[in-house]
Amino acid sequence: MVSRKDKEGQVKKKNLLDSQTSRRSFLKGASIAAAAGSAALVTGCVPGAEAGSSEEFSLKWEEYFKKHYRLMTQEEKDETIARLVKLAKLQYDLDIQMSSRPPQEQVLYGYAFNITRCEGFMDCVKACVKENNQDRKSKTQYIRTFEMEPGQLDPSTGDGKYFHEVPVDNKFYMGVQCFQCENAPCIKACPTKATWREPDGIVVVDYDWCIGCRYCMAACPYWGRRFNWGKPEIPQEEINTKQHYLGNRIRPKGKVEKCTFCVQRTREGKLPACAEACPTGARVFGNLLDPDSEIRYVLKHKKVFRMKEELGTDPKFWYFID
């Protein structure tokens, strides 16, 4: 095991782009010993244990030692993205585009959900699953819709598993997802700072930095987070190749993921997939800092409320009634 890795390491040194820093080489030295010790045991997670080619192996090896996204310079971000794009080609024979586009200035995203209009079609759920490359095997979904009895406003009293024709008379529907809390308990809980709130208000996860402890899942009061219990499986032809590093790129197994307001779309000025897919216009998305935006209109002229206001999480997601 050791000798193989050493050999690979030399190959890597010759043909890889990166400039060595002392921190990195220290880590490498230390890790070769550690990895060799545990390699036999944890073949599943040692970088490159399943690698087909030596190029794939060295790319994965490089990936393993990269920094936290927020500590990377733009150059380092470009490098890791180049590696991820290459890996996608090698592993899945896919040509993906990946962006690291930063937040736009003077933007704070907000979402409003019209409970009067929603009829429970769940087109948003389907669009979200597709857009965000969610695991089909475990049927991961960021959005849940609940069929509610009149007189109730708390989704936990509703039925989240309806399989009948909608809308049903005298019922109404509520969609829930991560609410992008301004004071987010999940961020506070994370021991490695692998999840944080971007300046445009989106709470993101660095999938490669997350250690998969799931403390954030326990801490979220809205059940906004999902875990990759296994390796995500998506049919080749359904993979969305327009990806963002902090958004819909295909997650490694053992990491936490969540709704990112479709960061890969919204930072390009588009609507999130759910808002675009909704046939009833129940979903309003926009820039809270823009006084002329639709979301500001809703907040000003409609009666709005947020879930579990008493927890002080300050979500950026409101419900309203026409």
């Binding site: 045991l41 944890v42 599943g44 989240g160 994370c190 021991p191 402890c213 326990a218």
Partner: protein
């Protein structure tokens, strides 16, 4: 290192190793069983490493299961060593002084198990270096999990180094210098309480989970640990007493029994107080407790579990309190065993799993560990017992020799 005899640190390590390889046939067979358990654990873990945590019974709703339950319980066992340390070093109780090393060995074993349970629960165990301050990013002081990493490792160091120093001194045939280790003993007493409180705060600090978000969590943790931990210590001491030449004073068992009784009663009072709060006027927030004690909508996997635990808990506490056998080991030992298991059931699965059920969106699922989780857990328990036996076995030999050397061995 000052030279008193020609022996040095390496011969100390070598002798410890050598003594560990010796020992009677039953002892070796016992060790073989432990090795078999660990091998099975490794096999189960390699399965999990290959396929991911999907081979466990956990889900997006019950996102922590058997591993974290055992971790939580074992933190209590580790901290309970303080119940020997406190009287031994602070009050210079001679009876406890003789057995305190055993308590510390147990604490080290429990901590090794705790850290292993956390590691096997990680989705990305190889990324664990992201937690190391300096090369990773450590969310301190904001994340309670970051605190927990510090206090657990610190406690492990303290409980390993102080006995190491004492044993090494005794091995070299000199008295351990109390001025040198006393500050660390003080620190470890304080630290024992902190590993408890911090681990309780891990859960207590989550407003998302009303079942855990309860100020009694920390204190109850302490009480139950000071009942379960000393119960285990009694069992271990009794084993050592009957299977080795190292004899333990009757007084030790009597004193430990008192500690257990007081803690177990406080634990029961607090349990009663919690149950009262949840069920006198049930609210929205009582729903997890409802699930635990009575089941919800036909999901009642934990109901027999928790009632068995409470039943055993009450019976064992009563037996220990009224002491019908008059400290006879025939009564004392089974009662301790039952109490230990009862608290394991309650502070493990009975505490962690219902906190996650129902999900904040009101969905209810049951949780059952799979063979992988059971196998890995078995492996970790075997690892812990192995560590304890590897530590205690040479420690007792050194102590016995030292006793003979100084002629202070009590009959």
């Amino acid at each position: 290192m000052e030279k008193i005899s020609q022996k040095g640190f390496f011969s100390f390590l070598y002798d410890c190793f050598r003594w560990n390889m010796q020992g009677g046939v039953p002892f070796q067979i016992f060790r073989l069983f432990l090795i078999a358990g660990m091998v099975f654990g490794l096999y189960a873990y390699s399965h999990q490493a290959r396929h991911g945590l999907e081979v466990t019974g956990m889900s997006n709703i019950v996102s922590w299961g058997f591993y974290i339950s055992n971790f939580t319980f074992l933190v209590g066992v580790a901290a309970a060593a303080v119940m020997l340390i406190l009287p031994a070093y602070m009050f210079h109780d001679p009876d406890f002084h003789r057995v305190v090393l055993i308590g510390e060995g147990l604490a080290v074993g429990a901590l090794v198990m705790c850290l292993s349970f956390i590691t096997v629960d990680l989705g990305g165990p190889l990324q664990a270096w992201h937690l190391i301050p300096g090369i990773g990013l450590f969310n301190f002081p904001s994340s309670i999990l970051a605190w927990d990493v510090i206090v657990l490792n610190g406690y492990l160091l303290l409980n390993a180094l102080v006995p190491l120093y004492i044993l090494y001194s005794h091995y070299m045939g000199r008295k351990a210098d109390e001025r040198k280790y006393r500050p660390f003993v003080f620190l470890s007493i304080f630290w024992a309480f902190s590993i408890h409180m911090v681990t309780a705060f891990l859960y207590q600090g989550l407003p998302a989970r009303p079942f855990w978000n309860n100020p009694l969590m920390g204190p109850r943790f302490l009480a139950s640990a000071f009942a379960a931990g000393p119960s285990l210590i009694i069992l271990v001491l009794a084993t050592i007493h009957s299977f080795t030449s190292f004899k333990i004073e009757k007084q030790v068992f009597h004193k430990l029994r008192l500690i257990i009784v007081v803690s177990a009663i406080i634990n029961l009072i607090m349990l009663f107080s919690e149950i009262f709060k949840e069920f006198y006027f049930p609210t929205h927030h009582s729903i997890s407790a409802m699930y635990l004690f009575f089941g919800l909508e036909g999901h009642n996997a934990l109901v027999p579990w928790i009632w068995t635990s409470i039943g055993c808990n009450v019976v064992a506490t009563l037996i220990l309190a009224f002491n019908p056998g008059d400290n006879s080991p025939k009564v004392l030992l089974p009662a301790c065993l039952v109490l230990f298991i009862a608290i394991w059931m309650e502070k493990g699965i009975g505490l962690i799993v219902p906190g996650l059920i129902p999900s904040p969106m009101g969905e209810i699922v049951d949780y059952l560990p799979t063979w992988v989780e059971l196998g890995v857990t078995l492996g970790i328990f075997c690892l812990g017992i192995t560590v304890v036996s590897w530590l205690i076995h040479p420690a007792l030999i050194i102590e016995e020799r030292y006793d003979q050397l100084t002629g202070s061995a009590k009959e």
